[in-house]
Point group: D2
Chain length 288, copies 4
Amino acid sequence: MANSKFEYVRQFEQLDTLLPNTWIVVRIDGRGFTKFANKYAFEKPNDKRALELMNAAAKAVMAELPDITIGYGISDEYSFVLHKTCTLFERRASKLITTIVSTFTGYYIHFWPTYFPDTPLSPPLPSFDGRAVCYPSVQNLRDYMSWRQVDCHINNLYNTTFWALIQLGGLDAREAEQTLAGTLAAEKNEILFSRFKINYNNEPEMLKKGSVIFRGYELVEPGSHNVAEDVENIAEPIQQSKTQLESDRKKRVKAQITVEHLDIIKDEFWDRRPWILSNKPGKIPKQP
Amino acid sequence: MANSKFEYVRQFEQLDTLLPNTWIVVRIDGRGFTKFANKYAFEKPNDKRALELMNAAAKAVMAELPDITIGYGISDEYSFVLHKTCTLFERRASKLITTIVSTFTGYYIHFWPTYFPDTPLSPPLPSFDGRAVCYPSVQNLRDYMSWRQVDCHINNLYNTTFWALIQLGGLDAREAEQTLAGTLAAEKNEILFSRFKINYNNEPEMLKKGSVIFRGYELVEPGSHNVAEDVENIAEPIQQSKTQLESDRKKRVKAQITVEHLDIIKDEFWDRRPWILSNKPGKIPKQP
Amino acid sequence: MANSKFEYVRQFEQLDTLLPNTWIVVRIDGRGFTKFANKYAFEKPNDKRALELMNAAAKAVMAELPDITIGYGISDEYSFVLHKTCTLFERRASKLITTIVSTFTGYYIHFWPTYFPDTPLSPPLPSFDGRAVCYPSVQNLRDYMSWRQVDCHINNLYNTTFWALIQLGGLDAREAEQTLAGTLAAEKNEILFSRFKINYNNEPEMLKKGSVIFRGYELVEPGSHNVAEDVENIAEPIQQSKTQLESDRKKRVKAQITVEHLDIIKDEFWDRRPWILSNKPGKIPKQP
Amino acid sequence: MANSKFEYVRQFEQLDTLLPNTWIVVRIDGRGFTKFANKYAFEKPNDKRALELMNAAAKAVMAELPDITIGYGISDEYSFVLHKTCTLFERRASKLITTIVSTFTGYYIHFWPTYFPDTPLSPPLPSFDGRAVCYPSVQNLRDYMSWRQVDCHINNLYNTTFWALIQLGGLDAREAEQTLAGTLAAEKNEILFSRFKINYNNEPEMLKKGSVIFRGYELVEPGSHNVAEDVENIAEPIQQSKTQLESDRKKRVKAQITVEHLDIIKDEFWDRRPWILSNKPGKIPKQP
């Protein structure tokens, strides 16, 4: 029995290859996480366990997909960056986004009991959606990362103040919202400090900065040379011999994936970790 | 602190809206399932537990996304069909495929202990990728479904014979492959029967036909009128009042989602279940 | 000297194949034609020579591209329809739209002296842009054509009344606009008739209906059977043998391309000319 | 009479916005120009009039579309480059390619009598197709330009030798082809020189290098600084105030558009004309 009669339907599949030589950012977002957070009684404004579960799932994604060079997470979203020379799945958007979303979801559910041992998951289960965006230059990519980190700061300062007004100040949600309407950052800091003796600067770094996830090679002295510029000079999708690629892949697999809470807006972060933009593995630090 | 300086990066997101008035098929596939099946010692050629786990996950997907009108699964793949008038997520391809893949993955992992109580999952976890394809006409859609069911038949007959030669006939994989090279369906049937007394027709329906998943309204008498034709006459993406849509949604949620192993190539399946192509909920059968 | 070092740049070309089994409409529009019409002193509200030049260019396009089954023109725009089974240029959008726009522009400029013998063209020359849209069903296609013809009617009734108020009524543009603001069709008809003794029904058909362009086979008796339905049952992109395709192509080339000013909203136009939707050439009428 | 009933068809138009911050290359090609060249008895291997007509049309395109920063033509093809910050037509691919193709075609036909005064055009008229490709970096863009110029060289050397063998050597086409099969550039040079006393280096620059078209500001001393690098640092689509944009536009319109036959593979061309990559108009040279 031949299948040819129906096989013409394959012609309807359309290619969704992403433009070569551009940085691919896959951002995933929790679906309906406000409701989900209520169902499992997440702490307000931030639930440490929930954020650490996000980070654990992201680490697993990065371990399974060595093409990811850096990830950045806040609240129920995570951004994963694929290097501009990446040719994984021939850069097909649908393959890339579904693989990342599926892997992330799997680990989120798998690790749930570790972070929420007392509240087993029940349907409807948490799920995530995702999208891919291409950025042509290092500047665009860094501006994307900065955009997310600024968003993290704005939201966290607001939420911290909002929930302080409710939990410590005894306001209801509407009153808290009205109190904050139109306030600047300085005013929110002032409310926190004068009313509740909270110094926002002392809030946990994970909440203020979000979570940056990357392979932890040895830091380099900044200033030696301009990595971003070198990277812009890479013009072709494939740069290396198979041997080189395989050797790099192995170094990546060996490197420790770390989660830190650092400023990724300033140059320092990128200058000291040139492997993130260059895609050339750094030096594995010696174990103490 | 305003976010405007970096916000320009949002302009790089590109719309991936699927053409209106076309049937959307989202097909998901297990990633590296040959290796995965070996790790968990799936039975050859088919592991009933694994197929039932796929079906359980698919049912959960359909329950969470009432816009799905029918699903069809074989081996480690599942196809989900969204009606041509569907406007879920404004028909954005990335939202649709990631939501379906994420939900499916979540339930696959969540239900794993039910189907494999003795072999807990360990990393690397199972994951799925997915893609969306648009089909303009009912005929195209049915040809797609037929294509998958013919594939199911071809693969299952081959695999059944291949593993009979190994497990019952004592051949090794190379010998079995050579024995089957170039054989027609009739010859494979003959090998099964003459050598191993296996009548392929008596094999389980789930293996021969795959799994069809749909809402189980009351069957109608076929022949009364041509649903496909009516459906082709629907030209606009949105056909109904909000009240009507809401009422339909409720009926869909109430309907039992059933998994059966039927012929979906012939007309009868579709004629007796007009709600699948028409998207108009049928009559909920009375409980006995 | 090998070219391989630079040839990688070809990988950046992205496929823009249009979905199979859908009707392709390529609509072209004059760029800056208000200014252009003033430069060459086009008559208001309609310049018969300019419209006939558009029609002549459209006929030439259709003669050079036998895949076009019907065209429809109003003012400085023209829509060309490619049958849903069309495989010209493998359905690549950019090839299709640029070829049609280029051919149209060429003939528009080539035929200009025939229609405007006293006013030779000078830079900036007239030019056109274009786009392609896919319609999955016959109903969608017909609704597109109806949309354009209703637009033709609305615009022409407005413009006829507007310019009558100015040219015959002595109003200036602002006064004419205010007079017409919010008026219904019946009221515009009344203004034309009561103030200027103009019966809109007697206006030229080309202005009221636009121009329909198609191959002129023998008309058939309507009602014999439903062409649209037959057409919806065509599911595959390629339906015919090469011999049949070549034979059809020859019949198409032989057929006279005619421009008429007919109602294309009602069924009659399509029922009597089944070849437009079926893509099967009709009977060449005998010459008298 | 409202148009709303049919207006839903507009929803089927799909956006084809090109990725921001990338260089857009629109390449147009003559359709069926081998046949066309025979019809009008173009000289072999190159018809100077035909090439100059191409250049004249390209200059007109560039004059009408000041967003084009550079063009490059060989044989019956022309590439036009839009700066990576260009926002013309919101970067919609179909608008960009059809406008350029239409404008080019118009001028090609309009200028035809100037270059071929004795052979008026007759149907079928010359036409062009076109496509748009995005290049993320200056290096990619320059590699694209180099690719075309290397192609020019390879083709011209081959054609010059091929036609010398036929026109001067008395070979027929098959014999000439066989003579050249597998020859390297040096061997073709040798054939030209030893058999026909033709020094390829003395061939006209237009044939060896193709035609580069750009705005002719004052050349700068190379080496002062790296333009390409500055350009890569432009991250956002829109960089300038409206006043600045308008002022730049005016300078562009005032600049002389020149056609030259230069090496565009080496750095010098780009270093001495920084305005091409920077999109900042240069200094208008003083008239002698």
